[in-house]
Symmetry: C2
Subunit: 335 residues, 2 copies
């Protein structure tokens, strides 16, 4: 187990703490004690992203879906920093770390030399430069996003519950718009529906009729990357109305709770988001109380720069790789 | 069980979701269905405050120490708002709620009429007007405080772990100063010591020698409100050095981890906090990387105003009540 003798004592630098990095760091096990393994990432834990949508509505706790990198392997060193540039010739990574003392922050820059480098930095949220997305939408990529989203869902319900709220205001506050029907968007819509059915129906029964979830997707299908049979099941499930019987009120008489189907709109490209509406296509304006952007991923800066720096064989592969680093059959970066 | 017939159908308004309010709301049980019970509070859950210090270092999860008010009693209505003024003559509470839509927020004001009012709003953090406390210190009163504190402790360790950090910078980053040796301050010091012993010694062994916890207390004792025998035990425990044996490094050789005693300074009144130091008494300046303020409690505005408004019998009792509402033997507010 562990790396062969030719790797012993070498400086192995791993960029990122996502799926690839976490698997590698864990798999290295005790072998990491014989080398100098350094992980560089702005986040000092692995995040089990498929359950992030659940965390955003409280189904699961953040701690249950995160694992500190130092726990994955106690023999690795970890630096809380962002890799800015890879100097392939000089075999070192230029890093930056935001260091705050009291209320003032500075950026510390430093270099980490390597004998072997693993690039596993993942992707960032892609807003496609659409105006208003950064300013008005919530995201679902990191724990902080899920925390903000959970708080926002709670606030929306409390806002709608105020005695001053008119029916129109309730409807507006409880208009949840999700953009992007990839795994993240579909998962969040389903979690939100579950939440409305299981929690909101119990604790905010009067508000349930005002709640509405809308899913906007630019292409003609949900879960475009999946098999058609799975897409069909997902779409049918989203569009299903859910009715449950609950007992409540004085004396506990039975009442029906109805959670409306998700309003799935396909072929609905978002053009702009303003303070109150998501503008779709040429004419539609969808009002929102809370808008979640799950529109897609974009490469992080260090990857884009590396592709440029690596030149010829790497650039040639880009039409197929679309912003990702092209690798050979042994996962070695081309160039 | 439940209130007597003379209370049935009355509008009962409860201010706050702390200990008093949560106990009452829970105790009302099914009886709440026969009245109109409305809870008004900026926080829609009860918080088990004694474990907040533990949550701040990750010993316990926030969800485990909170309970939504609607779960305490599904028959009560809840309004997320702050009580601003009590109109005792008109029997109504003036409330305010911050309502945000998109990125802009407004304040909604409304009144809640009552037949019976329960004031259980608790207290707020007292900075005694000491300059720099609000700007530079962290607190330990609400879940958000514990979240910020947990993040700050993690950041301090990661900051000290950067390759650019000098020994002086490590020492500075890991200087934890706690102000106030009441239950909150003492509890947090102990939790921090436990954290250093159990977690930091394992994951940041090289940094442990740089970590230092200082507890500043203006009076001459820790836990001043407690029995002397308990105070002595607490002080001895804080001042105890902790040594543990751990296995680590290449091959897992045994190593001693030493967590320094808490530097407890009694008779140390804080005069000012600036960006880098806590100024104590006339001469001392204690450098800090992270400063936690647990200096005491102050009455919230609605209570202070009510005391003024109630006048004579209430004001007379104030020397003994020190900002709290004076009540009779049946917990009825005087005046």
């Amino acid at each position: 187990s562990g790396p062969g003798p030719e790797l012993r004592g070498r400086r192995i630098v791993v960029l990122g703490t996502g799926w690839g990095s976490a698997s590698l760091v864990k798999a290295l096990g005790e072998a990491a004690a014989y080398d100098r393994v350094t992980v560089v990432s702005p986040r000092n834990y692995f995040l089990f992203t498929p359950m992030l949508a659940g965390a955003a509505v409280g189904t699961v706790e953040y701690r249950s879906i995160t694992e500190p990198v130092r726990k994955l392997n106690r023999h690795v060193d970890y630096l809380e920093a962002t890799a800015r540039r890879i100097d392939f010739g000089g075999r070192r990574v230029e890093c930056e770390s935001v260091v705050c003392e009291g209320t003032s922050c500075t950026i510390e820059a430093f270099e980490v030399p390597y004998d072997a480098l693993v690039v596993s930095v993942g992707a960032t949220t892609n807003t496609f430069g659409i105006s208003g997305v950064r300013e008005h939408c919530l995201f679902l990529k990191q724990v902080q996003d899920a925390e903000a989203l959970r708080r926002a869902v709670g606030n929306a319900l409390e806002r709608a519950n105020l005695p001053t709220a008119t029916d129109d205001e309730k409807r507006r506050a409880l208009s949840f718009v999700v953009v992007g029907a990839g795994p993240t968007g579909v998962e969040f819509c389903s979690e939100l529906k579950d939440f409305l059915e299981a929690e909101a129906s119990r604790y905010y029964p009067e508000l349930l009729p005002f709640a509405r979830v809308t899913l906007l997707e630019a292409t003609s299908a949900v879960l475009g990357a999946f098999d058609e049979s799975l897409r069909d099941v997902a779409l049918a499930e989203l569009r299903r109305e859910r009715v449950t019987v609950s007992r409540r009120g004085r004396g506990g008489e039975a009442a029906l709770s109805v959670v409306a189907p998700v309003d799935v709109r396909l072929g609905a490209p978002v053009r702009r988001v303003n303070e109150t509406h998501v503008l779709v296509g040429d004419r539609d304006a969808v009002p929102y109380g809370l808008c979640v952007w799950a529109g897609g991923n974009a490469p992080v800066a260090v990857v884009s720069e590396s592709i440029e720096a690596l030149g010829h064989p790497q650039l040639d592969a880009q039409p197929a790789c679309r912003g990702r680093l092209a690798v050979d059959a042994h996962l070695r970066v081309l160039g």
